[in-house]
């Protein structure tokens, strides 16, 4: 049973109030997902806005074959992938040293010396930079599980892959993250 079903149906019939309630329910999760996937507050806000615009456009066509939760996560991931693809192409063209340094190979060392790790925000920044070093498919799986708290079956539905693939990606992602997160282990 989808707990959002009534709201989704009402939003699909054009109810702005129902759509606003869906935004209230999911804005935190989608902004958080986008932040973890991009390591940028400004990008996270833009990508979350784009996600909800797409939801608004297509909620009338939602058939309830999955839950609304996995559906909106799927939309958000598509928006983020599109953004990342566009950004990668721009980086190839302009080769910006500033942007490259932001996603350099050793972000944690720089962050721990520059920002410190006393605050939770600094820790979040370190984690997101570590996540940024992962291939997209591993990052998506581990973020959905460990940052967003989705169940394995929900992740499989949102990514449209078998559950065994989800297990394998999460396992490999954590294995790669361990040395990068070493500075945070005793914090």
């Amino acid at each position: 049973m989808d707990p959002d079903r009534d709201l989704v149906e009402a939003a699909g019939r054009g109810s702005p109030e129902a759509f606003e309630e869906l935004v209230r329910r999911y804005q935190g999760a989608i902004v958080n997902l986008a932040r973890a996937m991009t390591a940028s507050d400004a990008d996270a806000d833009d990508l979350a806005q784009e996600t909800f615009v797409r939801v608004w456009r297509s909620v009338g066509k939602f058939r309830g074959e999955s839950t609304f939760k996995t559906w909106i996560y799927g939309i958000a991931l598509n928006v983020i992938r599109t953004y990342r693809g566009r950004r990668a192409r721009l980086l190839q063209i302009f080769r910006s040293p500033t942007i490259e340094s932001h996603t350099g190979t050793d972000p944690l060392e720089r962050a721990s010396s520059d920002d410190g790790i006393e605050t939770s925000m600094a820790m979040r920044d370190l984690i997101d930079r570590a996540l940024a070093t992962l291939p997209a498919e591993l990052r998506e799986a581990v973020v959905l599980r460990d940052v967003q708290g989705l169940e394995y079956l929900e992740i499989a539905a949102a990514l449209d892959v078998p559950i065994g693939t989800v297990e394998s990606r999460i396992f490999r992602a954590r294995k790669r993250l361990r040395p990068l997160l070493e500075p945070l282990r005793n914090k």
Partner: protein, 181 residues
Amino acid sequence: MLSCWESESLLARYADAESRLTEGVRLEIGAHVASCAACRASLEEQRKVRDILGAREPSQVAAGFAARLSARIDREGGAAWLDLANWRVWSAGLVPLAASLLLVAYLDAGSSTSSTSGEPSGSSSSSSQVAEASNPLDLWPTSPDQRASVLLQSASNGDLLLETILTGAVPATSGEPANVR
């Protein structure tokens, strides 16, 4: 006994104490981990990374997020766009039109039958005529003007329209607006 390779593919879920792992699988992984130092270390690694990521402070939604979203949807003609994209909205709006067209088509068919039978037709409201008529539609006015008058006058009054069709009586024009009883 599971191999390391088989065990690895399930270690992430085992580390998360996923309830969907069957008891049998859980026992097999437990037995393997107890006897394999490498997999035990791997399991510990999985748990530590999971705990660190789980302790990550969630990002806050920026102030005015919903207002900006609403403004953007309005700017893009959200409501009008949605109405066009959403068949449920616009098809519901066409129901009265479709019903009216079907009704007119049906009534036209009825009057054609009537005129070919050679029986007189008209706008009489006599109840005896209704009783005698084999088909109430035989009494439906043949004149397009009269039909239009009935349909337009009865457009907002379903009961009156139904009564008109069944009795063949054209409602008298009282000069009142059609939506006033």
